[in-house]
């Protein structure tokens, strides 16, 4: 039908070309970038290879060392292999792994981060015996470089060391707060002092009155618009501004003795609170327009408790993606089979809250109260909160107040394991297809594999 010699070629305005290219997979986009300069500029200019969709949730279970990607079957997450080794943090498609590796599962790039300086006392006279929390700050739209921040815990909370009364009267967090920061720009750790703006969260003694138990609770950090927001013990938020080396304490909207969930979603930084006893969910958005007036704005209040559905394995179709797609010797055959089977399930519209995967709810309060329920993460682009309840993953749509059952959040092969397995951490994973990791780039073969 078409005579190539007569074809005059495709000369399209950038916006039309963008509308075409936007439909392509990252692999096709990679080829298109090589076609000509206009095409490359359209792909780059529209950030088409930057994180823009949720591939799934990276889940870590109890004592199991490796993380797994829990995703809707059929979503094109490509050859991304979740690494062996515990995931410490995940930021815009980049994972920070135990043992200080940084890995981009989409591109397969890995880089090692040198061992951080020993978690030494940051405040004179206060020993830090607990591991510091490590968080990634990475925004590929702004820079290919990343930073790792170590946030020291409140001194001696959770252990039996008794502090001198003088220490107890000190403010926390201190000012300046000296943090260990690794930058891929320099390839080294440095101690960076952050001056506090505004009030402290309290005194060390105040902090120690916090009676929450210190299970292996995971607190998130979010990197958004050049600011790192860290959910700290006792629920205050540290708003760290690396550009001017300052930080600010943001108190929680409601003072309760219960963990909040920090997340980034459609409109910025979100904080969610699920009251244990009645399952009332409240969600706030951080109003961070002017630095002087940072406030929480209530976005959603479920009012009475969420009517959680009775777990039902007939619902939900999210599954675990194959663990090591680059590892032939994977012993996870069972799950892979399950995954492939599921792939043939007809795809359902993404987050269509009207479809029938929205499950009927039950008012069986007896059953409701008995199931262990935890908030897992926010959807990075839509106003959805993910929950884990018993063994099921759930998605709660703020706009419609509907709960959607996603599927089993524990691989089925673990059912025979007697010990209690819990979800230790959960990160929304948004693949980033751009760029090598700067500095100390090493191929995946050099990475220690998990046992």
């Amino acid at each position: 039908m078409v005579d190539d010699e007569e074809a005059r070629g495709l000369l399209l305005p950038d916006d039309v070309l963008a509308a075409i290219l936007r439909r392509l997979s990252p692999w096709d986009l990679a080829a298109c970038r090589c076609v000509c300069k206009q095409w490359r500029d359209v792909v780059n200019g529209n950030g088409m290879l930057l994180p823009r969709s949720l591939a799934g949730l990276v889940l870590s279970h109890g004592n199991i060392r490796y993380a797994r990607l829990f995703a809707r079957p059929g979503v094109d997450h490509g050859d991304q292999c979740m690494p062996g080794g515990a995931v410490l943090d995940c930021c815009n498609g980049l994972l920070l792994l135990d043992g200080y590796w940084v890995r981009n599962p989409a591109t397969g790039a890995s880089a090692s981060v040198p061992e951080p300086p020993y978690a030494s006392p940051r405040v004179e006279g206060m020993g830090c015996l607990i591991d510091q929390d490590a968080f990634l700050a990475f925004d590929p739209a702004a820079s290919p470089h990343y930073e790792v921040f170590l946030i020291p815990p409140i001194p001696c909370i959770g252990n039996s060391v008794v502090l001198a009364p003088a220490m107890l009267r000190l403010e926390w967090p201190p000012s300046p707060f000296v943090l260990s920061v690794f930058s891929s720009r320099t390839g080294a750790w440095e101690e960076r002092a952050f001056g506090r703006q505004g009030e402290a969260a309290g005194t060390v003694a105040d902090m120690q009155q916090d009676t929450r138990d210190f299970l292996d609770l995971y607190r998130h950090a979010e990197y958004w618009q050049g600011i790192l927001y860290v959910h700290c013990q006792t629920n205050y938020l540290m708003r760290i501004s690396p550009s001017d080396s300052t930080y600010r304490v943001i108190k929680p909207p409601v003072d309760v003795n219960q963990e909040y969930l920090l997340g980034k979603s459609e409109k910025g930084i979100y904080y969610a609170l699920l009251e244990d006893d009645c399952f009332r969910l409240r969600v706030w958005i951080l109003d961070d327009c002017s630095c002087d007036q940072i406030e929480w704005r209530l976005r959603h209040d479920s009012g009475q408790g969420l009517a959680f559905p009775t777990p039902n394995s007939d619902h939900g179709n999210w599954v675990f993606a194959p663990l090591y797609s680059d590892d032939e010797s994977s012993d996870d055959d069972e799950s892979e089979e399950e995954y492939e089977d599921e792939e043939q399930v007809e795809e359902e519209p993404e987050w269509d809250s009207d479809d029938d995967s929205i499950i009927p709810t039950t008012n069986d309060m007896v059953e409701q109260s008995s199931a262990f329920t935890q908030m897992l993460a926010f959807h990075p682009y839509k106003e959805i909160v993910f929950f884990g309840r018993s063994s099921r993953g759930l998605a709660y749509h703020l706009s419609s107040s509907k709960l959607e059952d996603l599927g089993e959040v524990f691989p089925t092969k673990w059912y025979h394991i007697q010990t209690y397995i819990y979800l230790r951490s959960c990160f929304p994973y948004t693949p980033c297809w751009m760029g090598e990791l700067p500095r100390s780039f090493q191929s995946i073969q050099d990475q220690p594999t998990s046992g």
Partner: protein, 186 residues
């Protein structure tokens, strides 16, 4: 509703009908006239809707200087077919795309409509759809063109779309390095 299929030559000498007609006459860059249902034009094209609402429709043929007669004939043809088709549930987003915005899948007749076009006609049509603000037609044509790119190497894409490689060898190597993950197999 009486809908005229665009037959430019025949329309050329046509007398202008009374003011409250239910069609509009469009004039291609090469002076051919096409008639299309006013309702369909207003519904499918934001630009034509604006012109109709603003009273800038010329009963002797509204000049569309950017659109050739072949493309305009396809546009009119599409409008007429669309007016006669019953939107199905498939119009609602169905596929899960890699990127955030889900795209509407073309319907069967829309697929056939673009499949029969030559490459040149398709490229002209996508430009015309863009110019006229025809979101749905743009969707359908972009979908078709993106299908033509899938699974192809840069060389194959250049060949299909007759695009000149304006990279130097060094530049090309650099750009491949940036996305080394995509070219392992080469």
């Amino acid at each position: 509703m009486e809908v005229d299929k665009g037959k430019g030559e025949a329309e050329e000498t046509r007398k202008v009908a009374e003011a409250d007609r239910d069609t509009v006459t469009l004039k291609s860059s090469d002076g051919k006239l096409f008639e299309v249902s006013k309702e369909a034009a207003a519904r499918l094209s934001t630009v034509l809707a604006g012109m109709i609402a603003g009273g800038s429709i010329d009963d002797n043929g509204t000049d569309l200087k950017q659109i050739g007669s072949e493309a305009l004939e396809n546009v009119v043809d599409y409008c007429n077919k669309h007016a006669n088709s019953i939107p199905s549930a498939a119009l609602i987003s169905s596929s899960i795309s890699f990127n955030t915005a889900p795209f509407k899948e073309p319907e069967e007749w829309e697929r056939k409509f673009v499949d029969r076009l030559s490459h040149d006609a398709l490229f002209d049509l996508v430009e015309a759809a863009n110019f006229l603000g025809m979101e749905r037609l743009l969707d359908v044509t972009c979908h078709k063109i993106s299908e033509m790119m899938k699974g192809k190497s840069p060389d194959q894409i250049r060949e299909v779309f007759n695009i000149k490689n304006d990279y130097t060898k060094e530049e090309l190597e650099e750009i491949r390095q940036e996305l080394a993950w995509a070219f392992y197999d080469d």
